[in-house]
């Protein structure tokens, strides 16, 4: 039976899942039995007819008019609205070592847990064996550090957030990609109200993102290239390197970026947000400064967390050189333009 309703789940299936532009944010998973997140993919378990349906409202790949404007569409400038921009890193070299760059995200997250800003953090784990990375809940620094490092693959981690909210957990912090920050912003406005949702998420730490890879295709690619065993770290070193590096227990393998680009999720092409404009605090790299991060503090919640971490001595900051900021703005502008064009082409 074909469902006639075009505003509910059927819309998500037709416009996103079947169209192949799902970015696996996981927002639609865990709020009902009709979607599931399995091995990094969002799968349709059954057809649903409920309307109004939250899935169609919160999916970041469905054109949607929220009741209040979402500000990651360029209105806030190239890199969105922010209170403060700095360069930051963990004061602990051990954390820096275990992390992608400066360890700022891990530090902020662990600090937020330790000081009671949040009770649990929703992160993305490293996967296990043949299982793709997925969402997980961390309660302390050890658990946070087990998730450190960039996956370059979507993980559906918001499903874990939904499950935690469903289980009645409060004071959650979510660490995620710009699309996931957008999904959370949409959830706050969706009908019927997920009443707990807005109250439950008290901190959003966003990660800069140019694109993410399709986890299935990435796994197939690595298998084809003979990369076996758990990956400790993926990295795309700054230009002119033009390469994708994969670190396992057996060592480091480097592939030309051109071989990896075809694995980029189709849905990423529509994204206009590089710097997680809807986060409380957004973190990315500093080109040429491998053990530092760029940090955009966007809200008071983000600011008080960062200031607390600095006061505590766990985070150190420095001024972000102007040319780096300009470079970031140029890159973000480029992504926004590409996203707009892709959106125009598809509509």
């Amino acid at each position: 039976m074909e469902l006639q309703h075009q505003e509910g789940q059927a819309k998500v299936i037709a416009h996103v899942i079947d169209a192949g532009i799902c970015v696996r944010c996981g927002a639609c998973v865990g709020i009902c039995p009709y979607f599931d997140c399995f091995n990094g993919k969002i799968v349709v378990m059954e057809r649903c007819y409920a309307e109004p349906s939250r899935c169609a409202q919160i999916c970041p790949r469905i054109a949607y008019e929220p009741t209040s404007p979402i500000k990651n569409d360029g209105a806030g400038g190239e890199i969105g609205e922010y209170l403060k921009v700095v360069m930051a890193r963990s004061s602990d070299p051990g954390i820096r070592n275990a992390s992608q760059y400066g360890g700022t995200v891990s530090t902020l997250c662990a600090h937020a847990l330790e000081k009671g800003f949040i009770e649990s953090a929703i992160l993305t784990d490293r996967g296990e064996g043949s299982r793709a990375p997925g969402g997980c809940v961390a309660k302390d620094q050890t658990e946070v550090l087990s998730c450190a490092g960039s996956r370059y693959a979507a993980s559906g981690s918001l499903s874990e957030m939904n499950r935690a909210v469903g289980a009645g957990q409060k004071n959650l912090g979510v660490i995620g990609l710009p699309c996931q920050m957008e999904a959370i912003a949409r959830m706050e406005r969706a009908e019927p109200k997920e009443s707990l949702m807005a109250e439950s998420v008290v901190l959003k730490i966003g990660l800069f993102c140019t694109w993410a890879l399709d986890s299935e295709q990435l796994a197939a690619f690595l298998k084809e290239k003979g990369v076996v065993g758990p990956v400790r770290k993926f990295d795309i070193p700054p230009p002119p390197a033009d390469e994708f590096s994969v670190e396992t227990d057996k060592g480091r393998e480097v592939f030309p970026l051109s071989e990896v680009r075809p694995l980029i999720q189709k849905g990423c092409a529509f994204c206009q947000d590089m710097t997680a404009e809807l986060a409380d605090i957004a973190v990315g790299t500093v080109e040429g400064r491998e053990d530092w991060n760029t940090v955009l503090v966007r809200t008071d919640a983000g600011l008080s967390l960062m200031e607390s971490a600095i006061a505590d001595g766990s985070l150190e900051i420095d001024e972000l050189p102007m040319d780096h900021l300009n470079h970031l703005k140029a890159a973000a502008k480029g992504k926004r333009q590409r996203g707009k064009q892709a959106g125009a082409r598809s509509s």
């Binding site: 009902c32 039995p33 993919k41 059954e46 409920a50 349906s53 019927p192």
Partner: protein, 635 residues
């Protein structure tokens, strides 16, 4: 109905079902050996005889399949005893390889094969006409029209078989097998048997041509006997406007329609009970009397084609006829016949108003809209629901358009919403496995869809093993789920090789499917269909592997669990938590999971437990997204 074997009923009338009449007929003939495989509408024949075996010196068994049943019965015949095998139409297909060879070797003690056909496929995967096997094997065919005739005809079939030294096919249909009427019973014999196989008289098909000729001679003898058979008779004027030739239940329908339409003086009915070979002289005599002939029979145009061929041979001797029936479109080609259909056929031919709308209106007034729409469904608590839910989950996770290759049993309902429409093919017993052996070798051509094969425990023993062995032999990538509910549930809980008792109640070492798989060198695991999530994980994990794999989904049929003391829970719904139609649920339990124990309270917009039907398996608590379905341990 064990009253029927009491001596005080001899010579008296007793209310019996058609299948019981067949059993009684065989008992009156003194047959001592009975075998069959259950299948609607035939099962009650063997079951009745099994009951009789407690008091009479006869042997009755459910065999692993129909072919084995007939083979076993043939042994008794070879040893000089009267024997019978019974089955549904599909079973005759399974028997056919043996049957066509047996027809050449011939038999000794009277041997009767009973087929209960299912016009309209009421409880079958097809509506095959097993009469064609009489034609194919070249053996006599008898078609009773009433339970009384079924009794007499079955009794006589053994005499016929002994006279021509060959097997006789007796064909019933659902309506006859399940009709009850008052029957007059004769004496039961003393069941003296002295089985002896004479080594000087072997049974085989060689030399083939000579044996073939002998078989045809036997058939001629039967044809000659049929000319004066009381099972064939004519009712009507000497020169009717229309000659109706019919057999079996269809005779009742034609007779009734003729009477209702008042056509007794215009039509004549030639009712044939011995339909192969045709009683040629009798048929010829009646063909001469009338130029318009209507054939009324169920499923295939068997009589129709044979009489037409015979008429062509007769040529000028009978003159040109107008034949009407299935070929001409006068009689429906498919489906069961009924008096109504015959009223329509004859009403049209004689331009008579036939439809009695008063009855339809009366029925509508009584029933109104109180009759709820019903669909095929698993029973409350059925483990198959859990199995298919786990399969559905694993296939969705895998997300490669995987599907289920199905088989015959309760779990065939996996085709329908009750089994989440997971099953995509169902054919014959064991075919799901054979088909999967093919899918399991398509990978080298780029086939990437996972296939899950399901088979029941009884079906595995019936016809599944060759497929499983083939998968092992050819290293086919198959994942077989043995849905082991420890019962032949669909046909009424007959014992099978895995249950540990025989039909006659003897204890026997059950065949263990797990040990069987191990012996074949096929990897085997066991899962619980009631633990759907864990079962789904196991299925998913096995789906990612290669070669032949077996997962036994083990949980007794809910009806058996009920009989053995019931299931553990009393179920409740917390209405405050139930989301009903809203986003987040969308009536998941009543719309998707669909256990009949869960019902939808339209007024409240909430789910509800049907306390009368719910058996308390408790698994629906695991699928409610809100945790609104609650399990309470029974006291």
């Amino acid at each position: 109905m064990m009253e029927m074997i009491r001596e005080e009923w001899e010579g008296k009338e007793i209310l019996l079902q058609g299948n019981e009449a067949i059993a009684r007929g065989a008992l009156e003939a003194g047959a001592i050996f009975y075998a069959g495989y259950p299948g609607n509408p035939s099962s009650e024949i063997i079951e009745t005889l099994a009951e009789a075996s407690r008091e009479l010196p006869i042997y009755v068994e459910w065999s692993t399949n129909e072919k084995v049943a007939l083979e076993a019965a043939a042994a008794a015949s070879f040893a000089g005893c009267r024997a019978m095998a019974s089955m549904k139409q599909n079973g005759v297909n399974v028997v056919s390889d043996f049957l066509t060879n047996l027809a050449l070797s011939g038999t000794k003690g009277g041997l009767v094969l009973v087929t209960c056909d299912d016009p309209g496929g009421i409880s079958s995967t097809n509506e095959e006409d097993a009469r064609l096997f009489a034609h194919l094997a070249g053996i006599p065919l008898l078609e009773p029209a009433t339970p009384q005739e079924a009794l007499h005809m079955t009794r006589w079939a053994f005499e016929l078989s002994e006279k021509i030294q060959n097997i006789v096919l007796l064909r019933s249909v659902s309506r006859l097998s399940h009709t009850r009427s008052n029957l007059r019973m004769d004496k039961l014999p003393d069941f003296k048997a002295a089985p002896y196989f004479d080594p000087k008289v072997p049974f085989h098909a060689f030399p083939v041509v000579e044996k073939d000729l002998a078989r045809r001679e036997k058939l001629k003898i039967a044809g000659a006997l049929f000319e004066n058979s009381p099972f064939n008779f004519y009712n009507g004027p000497v020169s009717p406007e229309l000659l109706i030739i019919c057999s079996g239940c269809a005779w009742n329908y034609a007779d009734e329609a003729v009477e209702i339409l008042g056509l007794q003086n215009r039509t004549g009915i030639l009712k044939l009970g011995t339909t192969w070979p045709l009683p040629n002289e009798l048929v010829k005599k009646h063909l001469k009397t009338c130029d318009r002939v209507l054939f009324v029979e169920e499923i295939e145009p068997f009589l129709e084609n044979n009489v037409k061929a015979f008429a062509a041979d007769l040529g000028k001797a009978i003159g040109l006829k107008e034949f009407m029936g299935k070929a001409s479109g006068h009689v429906p080609l498919c489906g069961e016949l009924s008096p109504d259909i015959l009223l329509g056929v004859l009403g049209k031919l004689f331009d008579k108003q036939w439809q009695n709308t008063a009855f339809i209106e009366k029925t509508a007034a009584i029933v109104g809209d109180r009759l709820p729409p019903r669909e095929f469904g698993f029973c409350p608590g059925c483990p198959h629901r859990g199995s298919y839910y786990a399969i559905k989950t694993a296939l969705a996770w895998d997300n490669r358009n995987g599907f289920v290759s199905g088989d015959i049993g309760c779990y065939s309902l996996g085709l329908f919403p009750t089994g989440f429409n997971q099953v995509k093919s169902v054919h014959a017993m064991g075919s799901g496995l054979g088909i999967s052996c093919g899918y399991g070798k398509l990978e080298k051509f780029g086939f990437d869809q996972p296939v899950i094969t399901v088979i029941g425990d009884s079906t595995l023993f019936h016809a599944g093993l060759p497929g499983l062995i083939n998968a092992r032999f050819n290293n086919a990538d198959i994942l077989l789920l043995i849905l082991d509910n420890s019962a032949t549930a669909m046909t009424g809980f007959q014992p099978h090789p895995g249950t540990g008792t025989t039909l006659m109640g003897d204890k026997t070492d059950p065949v263990d499917p797990e040990a069987l798989c191990r012996a074949l060198g096929v990897s085997v695991e066991v899962a619980d269909p009631y633990d759907m999530k864990e079962a789904a994980r196991t299925i998913y994990r096995l789906m990612q592997q290669a070669g032949p794999r077996v997962l036994i989904m083990r949980r007794k049929c809910a009806l058996i669990q009920g009989r053995e003391g019931g299931l553990p829970y009393i179920m409740h719904i917390n209405r405050d938590l139930c989301l009903g139609e809203s986003c987040g649920c969308g009536r998941y339990c009543t719309r998707i999971f669909r256990c009949p124990g869960l019902i939808w309270d339209k007024t409240a917009g909430k789910a509800q437990i049907d306390e009368v039907i719910c058996v308390g398996c408790g698994i629906c608590a695991d699928i409610c997204p809100q945790g609104a379905i609650l399990r309470e341990e029974k006291a």
